[in-house]
């Protein structure tokens, strides 16, 4: 720590930071624009000017930019003296000269950094009386609205889009006072993280287009801390509601997980919550076979009848449902009758991963750890499309190794432009082995494209180069041995090597190979990390709860042990082949489905129970890192029957087993019962304060103190204001009343601080800007590696891939927009889902005499598909890439062999 003097007061501060970071960490309100904690300083906006004095004798001083000034022992600074204030107000005046001043009609109004800084600088009187500059706006796709006239040219957007997120189709154009930020022509922003522009932009140039359709000011949201449900990473988000519908998702800062950003699927997938397919009523099939509305008592009695008759009842859980819901289902049907809601293949893979993480020596890293990795091997994952934010973290990781050299040149890490200049195109070692091209290929040192088996073989071979005891791959072909050696050397030389793999190819051998590589590195004393990508928000959590798989449930049904099946938030048709599910559901006499959206499974249900999505529920998810994270109900639905799955199931337990007196009432009861049965979850009690937590006797309000219209919004229904709903499950209140200051980090419903209405107010919630939130970042890791692990290398090295004469190996291809169930229902995302296709190597296309766009018939397992051909150079010969999860393509049954018949149309 070092000492500096600011406005004649001495402070002890962290060295190696910029003066701006230090001032903000001290809580001083020093305005800024172009600096961003995740992107560092460039000195463009000149807003953070302060006075710097050479020494005690210097009375004149000079204006310097705090963001460009390294903090030094003994330095003397004037932040709030007149000349510095006058200069900063001048910057406001310049920025406002051409700004349209259209705050009342601007979506950013009320959470605009430009508003905040202008007010903070005291600029209130316009002296510029000439005509303002205007620009033409662009169509940028379904997510981001463009209004260039508001631009203040801080260059943050282009630095994020190109520099941080690796996008190419966005740039700054022209010069002088006509610099333009946009695309070379109108069109959809291609980058998967483009939605962050709405938070990165300090004013209303880039705003959320989906919010615009049901616009609400920041102060009118009811919001709560939540967890994104669109992949397995568990990014923290803030969800905002108004008039009973979900209006938007924003990134919620978590220094260990997603930091400041989220991906487009996470930001824009939310509209499934408002979808017309939402199940809002309790439905029961009548004697005519039609679903009709019923009430809670009837359905409870019906359920009690089915369960109490000692009939065979099974429960099928779901990786998209919370720990509490899955656990309560388990309790309702009994552990032996509970089945994980995933295919046998997936359950086996998840168990394998769990074993590797629980018993092996390699640690599962957080996204922040991944950013710091200095050599990476990706085994078989198209990360951008299966875990987008992990791809963004990997994009930062390739800068780690060259950054070491740059630090040695005495260029501070935060001086972004200088770092990027000195770094040029240099990147740390980053190797990708995948079946197809990926969006990270541009930063890869080398890529390897092969079949899942060949990818696993490469992994095994890398491990063999790292450890003499790891098994060697025999009968090697092609360039693999040299590449394996190169990768092994790079990983060995790194300080923090990282291996990334996952279950998207449904290959056990790949996972084993990844473990071998990481373990071999651990064996040589490295701090090696091992990250597995999983498809759903609670994949790891449900797998930790254990239970047999769907295949076993199907088996049980065949053996007559499943007269009644309770399906929890799970469309079984997305899990395995259609015929199998049809047969299963037909075999079960009574199908009770708890879900929030109509799907193929609910169509077959006898009883449908409406449940809350993550927005209307409390719950706990365990992300792929093994971090348990809590999400909170955002608002209470008007229909009292729309309850959390765990509450429904809990009430059923009460009805069936406890003679109408449920022992579990609020969320904490469910969590505690879970921990009692599964001690591994002990720490989830600590991830958040209990429901009776109060500060100064008050709850934490979900609504800001400026929330408006409360007495008026329901006046058309009833003249008297309804009683505010109670929340028995959390320390959050549903109203604007409550504790006004900063809540504990896990229950921050929105960011706000006096004078800081924009998202930049996050600074006030952190110990040091860009660091952890006060009290630590939310979530608890449940799984830690065993450094003394007595691991044994996996030896199931597969045979090399052999091309078959009349068959193709179909492998799954994932799409950020299209492969995930819920986000597909959001109109913006739906508009970007690609049409189904079959991708093949040009040589194979030549042999089949087909070209791009020609339709072919595939016969795969038991179904036939007609798909147009795509040609992809990177796909190996003999392999066909088929997008999964899209309407009209198979779900989770790939890889599989298929035949092609009837070429051309």
């Amino acid at each position: 720590m070092i000492n500096i003097i600011i406005d004649d007061k001495e402070y002890t501060v962290t060295p190696q930071k910029s003066l701006l970071e230090v001032c903000l960490s001290l809580g001083l309100n020093l305005p800024y624009f172009c600096w961003h904690p995740a992107m560092g300083s460039v000195g463009a906006c000149r807003q953070c000017g302060v006075k710097s004095y050479k020494d005690e004798k210097d009375t004149k001083g000079r204006i310097v930019m705090a963001c460009m000034e390294p903090v030094r022992e003994g330095m003397r600074i004037g932040v709030f003296e007149d000349e510095a204030r006058e200069f900063r107000a001048g910057v406001s005046e310049w920025l406002m000269a051409n700004h349209p001043h259209d705050c009342p009609v601007c979506d950013e109004g009320g959470e605009c950094h430009l508003q905040d800084m202008t007010v903070m600088n005291g600029h209130a009187y316009r002296r510029f009386h000439f005509k303002k500059r205007t620009y033409r706006n662009q169509y940028l796709g379904p997510f981001v609205n463009h209004e260039m006239n508001r631009c203040i040219h801080c260059y943050r957007c282009v630095r994020f889009y190109r520099g941080y997120a690796g996008g190419r189709d966005f740039n700054n154009f022209a010069s002088r006072n006509h610099v333009y930020f946009g695309r070379h022509e109108d069109g959809v922003l291609q980058n998967e993280f483009s939605g962050n522009l709405v938070e990165v932009c300090p004013t209303g140039v880039f705003t959320d287009k989906t919010l615009k359709k049901h616009y609400t000011r920041k102060w009118d949201f009811t919001s709560a801390p939540s967890i994104c449900t669109h992949c397995g990473l568990g990014c923290n988000v803030i969800a905002g509601e108004r008039y009973g519908s979900l209006r938007r998702i924003r990134s919620r800062y978590n220094g260990e997980v997603n930091g400041y950003f989220i991906c487009n699927r996470g930001r824009y997938g939310y509209e499934f919550v408002n979808h017309e397919k939402r199940i809002k009523k309790i439905l029961i099939r009548n004697t005519l076979g039609d679903l009709e509305e019923t009430d809670k008592e009837t359905v409870m009695m019906h359920a009690a009848q089915l369960f109490s008759a000692r009939a065979a009842v099974i429960g099928i859980g779901s990786p998209r449902a919370s720990l509490e819901s899955n656990f309560t289902l388990q309790k309702l049907v009994g552990k032996s009758n509970y089945f994980q809601g995933v295919s046998g293949r997936e359950a086996e893979l998840m168990n394998t991963i769990l074993g590797i993480l629980r018993k092996g020596p390699a640690r599962s890293p957080s996204l922040k750890d991944i950013e710091k990795a200095d050599a990476v091997l990706v085994i078989g994952e198209d990360v951008t499309n299966t875990a987008p934010m992990l791809a963004l973290a990997l994009r930062q990781s390739v800068r780690q190794k060259p950054l070491e050299k740059i630090k040695a040149m005495n260029v501070p890490e935060w001086q972004d432009a200088a770092v990027r200049e000195a770094m040029q195109q240099e990147k740390g070692p980053f190797y990708i082995a995948s079946c197809n091209e990926t969006n990270l290929d541009d930063i890869a040192t080398k890529t390897f494209h092969g079949s899942p088996d060949d990818i696993a073989r490469l992994g095994f071979e890398v491990a063999a180069h790292l450890s003499a005891t790891a098994p060697r791959v025999s009968n090697q072909v092609s360039e693999m041995p040299a590449l394996a050696e190169e990768i092994a050397t790079a990983l060995k030389e790194a300080k923090r090597p990282l291996v990334v793999s996952g279950i998207s190819s449904l290959s056990t051998e790949m996972i084993h190979a990844a473990a071998n590589v990481a373990w071999a590195l651990c064996g040589s004393g490295k701090r090696a990390e091992l990250s597995f990508i999983m498809p759903e928000a609670n994949s790891l959590g449900t797998s930790m709860l254990g239970g047999k798989s769907l295949d076993d449930a199907f088996e049980a049904a065949v053996r007559g042990r499943a007269e009644t099946v309770v399906v929890l938030e799970n469309d079984l048709y997305r899990r395995t082949a259609k015929d199998t599910v049809d047969k299963f559901l037909d075999t079960c006499k009574n199908v009770i489905v708890l879900d929030y959206l109509k799907n193929e499974t609910t169509a077959k249900a006898d009883v449908i129970i409406p449940v809350g999505t993550f927005i209307e529920s409390d719950g706990t998810f365990v992300n792929n890192e093994g971090r348990a994270q809590r999400y909170y109900q955002v608002y209470l639905p008007s229909d009292p029957n729309l309850m959390e799955s765990w509450r429904w199931l809990g009430e059923m337990i009460g009805q069936v087993k406890e003679n109408s007196k449920p022992s579990m009432n609020n969320f904490a009861d469910f969590t505690n019962a879970l921990v009692d049965s599964y001690p591994e979850f002990e720490d989830i009690k600590e991830i958040t304060p209990p429901p009776d937590f109060r500060i100064a006797g008050e709850k934490i309000p979900r609504q800001p103190h400026r929330y408006s219209g409360r007495t008026a919004m329901l006046a058309n229904i009833h003249v008297s204001e309804p009683k505010p709903p109670e929340d028995p499950d959390s320390p959050l209140s549903f109203t604007m009343e409550g504790y006004r200051n900063e809540p504990p980090s896990s229950i921050i419903p929105f960011y706000w601080s006096p004078g800081w209405n924009s998202v930049q107010s996050i600074n006030k919630y952190q110990i040091e800007v860009g660091g952890s939130l006060h009290g630590g970042d939310p979530g608890k890791r449940l799984i830690e590696p065993d450094p003394k692990s007595n691991y044994k290398y996996f030896t199931d090295i597969p045979e090399a891939f052999k091309i078959r004469d009349n068959e193709f190996l179909t492998v799954p291809v994932y799409h950020i927009y299209g492969s995930e169930e819920m986000s597909n229902l959001a109109p913006g995302i739906a508009s970007l889902i690609p049409k189904p296709y079959a991708a093949m190597n040009p040589d194979d296309a030549g042999k089949l005499k087909v070209k791009k766009g020609d339709e072919i018939n595939l016969i795969m397992i038991d179904q036939s598909y007609r798909l147009p051909v795509e040609i992809k150079r990177e796909i190996p010969k003999g392999i066909l890439g088929i997008p999964v999860g899209l309407p009209g393509t198979p779900h989770y049954v790939l890889p599989a062999w298929c035949k092609i018949s009837g070429n051309k149309t």
């Binding site: 463009a44 204006i63 310049w94 203040i152 040219h153 002088r176 006072n177 040029q424």
Partner: protein
């Protein structure tokens, strides 16, 4: 009087080719430096000569070179750049040297690159200097054929390749670090310093950059020594300087004179004094981005220190004369129009401030100015200052503005009061 730089330049005649240049002693200095001197000895010699950069900033060339990492641990790749992007309004002195004696410049570049052990060099040339581009290309090719550029120059083992790069034509490209970005194919915006180009320059490698006039001195310093060079000047700063005068004088042009020659001598002897019917009202001594001076400063020596003392700068050493028949507000408006147009758009004060200044000056000229505009102009003059803006463009741009407000304020007031330009 010695005129080392221009002695062989003849008006309206093509420049010397290689053999003609060699005949008058050309490339002798290259032989001497490469064969008889160590790189550090060349650096020392230039440092001792007290040669200061003639591009405008006046930084010691020897000191600049001494900051480049040398020796075995230094990065293998280093670059040497000749800044020939002469674009300041009213400045044409480098053009004289580029078109008049290209081999002198090339020899200077090779010796300088040798001094810092750079193996690759670029001449970054203003796009409009088409004739210069032709003669430089021809001369580089001659130098390649003679073995002065290329691998193993003069059998010394020193390798150096030299390239001509023609700018796209933005004033900001002449700013040292913006030039580096432009040369890399990036947007021509300046870079923050530190890190200085000697540590992270072109493509992130150690880089030294000097201007045409500075580099043209190098062969002469190597041939004649530091003392000879120092003795060339009138006021102890060393060397000669190419001074220029434009405006309503009888004989506008450029002349190589001892550094420190008085302004009076330059205007009234070499430029022949004011044209008949015109009176001297003021002048920008060192080009468009220097402060106005007036008649009372005619006996000031044109060198770095003397001009600094009276509140202006030597800059490029090429004067622009303001006469009594020209509106000072109009002249400043014309200058600010240029600077506002040439702002790169990176930092707020320059991007937003200069167009505002330009608009105010235009309104004054149109007769729609207000009294408050004087305060606004002074506000800009105060805040577009070094350190407050990202680079030196805006501070340079407001030098003529602030000094015109000092010397010609009555003219500004008259515009506002009369609601018209008195010169129109």
């Amino acid at each position: 009087m010695e005129r080392p730089l221009t002695q062989y330049i003849q008006a309206n005649k093509p420049p010397m080719n290689l053999s003609e240049y060699e005949k008058v002693g050309g490339y002798k200095a290259l032989h001497k430096a490469l064969k008889e001197m160590k790189p550090q000895e060349v650096q020392k010699l230039v440092l001792d000569s007290n040669l200061k950069g003639r591009g405008g900033a006046g930084f010691s060339t020897g000191t600049k070179w001494s900051l480049i990492p040398m020796g075995e641990n230094a990065p293998a790749e280093k670059y040497f750049i000749c800044n020939a992007d002469e674009m300041e309004p009213g400045t044409f002195k480098d053009r004289l040297l580029l078109e008049g004696n290209p081999h002198q410049l090339i020899e200077g570049i090779i010796i300088s690159a040798y001094a810092i052990q750079a193996n690759k060099g670029f001449i970054f040339l203003r796009w409009a200097y088409k004739k210069a581009a032709d003669v430089i290309l021809k001369s580089i090719s001659e130098a390649y054929s003679a073995g002065y550029i290329g691998n193993n120059i003069l059998g010394t083992g020193f390798n150096f390749n030299l390239y001509l790069h023609r700018s796209v034509g933005r004033y900001i490209c002449g700013e040292e670090t913006a030039l580096l970005n432009a040369l890399e194919g990036k947007r021509a915006i300046p870079r923050a310093k530190p890190p200085y180009p000697n540590i992270s320059g072109l493509f992130g490698k150690p880089t030294t950059m000097n201007s045409v006039e500075t580099l043209s001195f190098i062969p002469h310093i190597v041939n004649n020594g530091a003392t000879w060079f120092k003795d060339l000047s009138i006021t102890g700063e060393g060397g000669t300087k190419i001074y220029g005068v434009s405006g309503k004088v009888k004989n506008p042009g450029a002349w190589e004179l001892p550094l420190g020659t008085t302004i009076r001598e330059i205007i009234f002897e070499h430029a022949g004094g004011m044209k008949n019917g015109f009176t001297l009202k003021g002048f920008l001594p060192g080009g468009a981005s220097t402060d106005f001076l007036t008649e009372e400063h005619l006996d000031v020596n044109m060198d770095y220190a003397s001009l600094g003392k009276v509140g202006s700068r030597l800059g490029t050493g090429t004067m622009i004369i303001l006469d009594d028949k020209t509106c000072p507000v109009g002249m400043v408006h014309n200058l600010e129009h240029f600077f506002a147009q040439e702002s790169c758009g990176w930092c707020t004060p320059c991007r937003e401030g200069l167009p505002w200044v330009e608009k105010i000056l235009f309104s004054l000229e149109e007769g729609t100015g207000r009294m408050e505009d004087i305060d606004l102009l002074l506000f800009h003059a105060k805040h577009l200052a070094p350190g407050r803006t990202f680079c030196a463009l805006a501070p340079g741009a407001v030098e003529p503005l602030q000094s015109s407000l000092k010397y010609f304020r009555d003219d500004y007031i008259k515009h506002i009061h009369d609601k018209r330009c008195p010169w129109r």
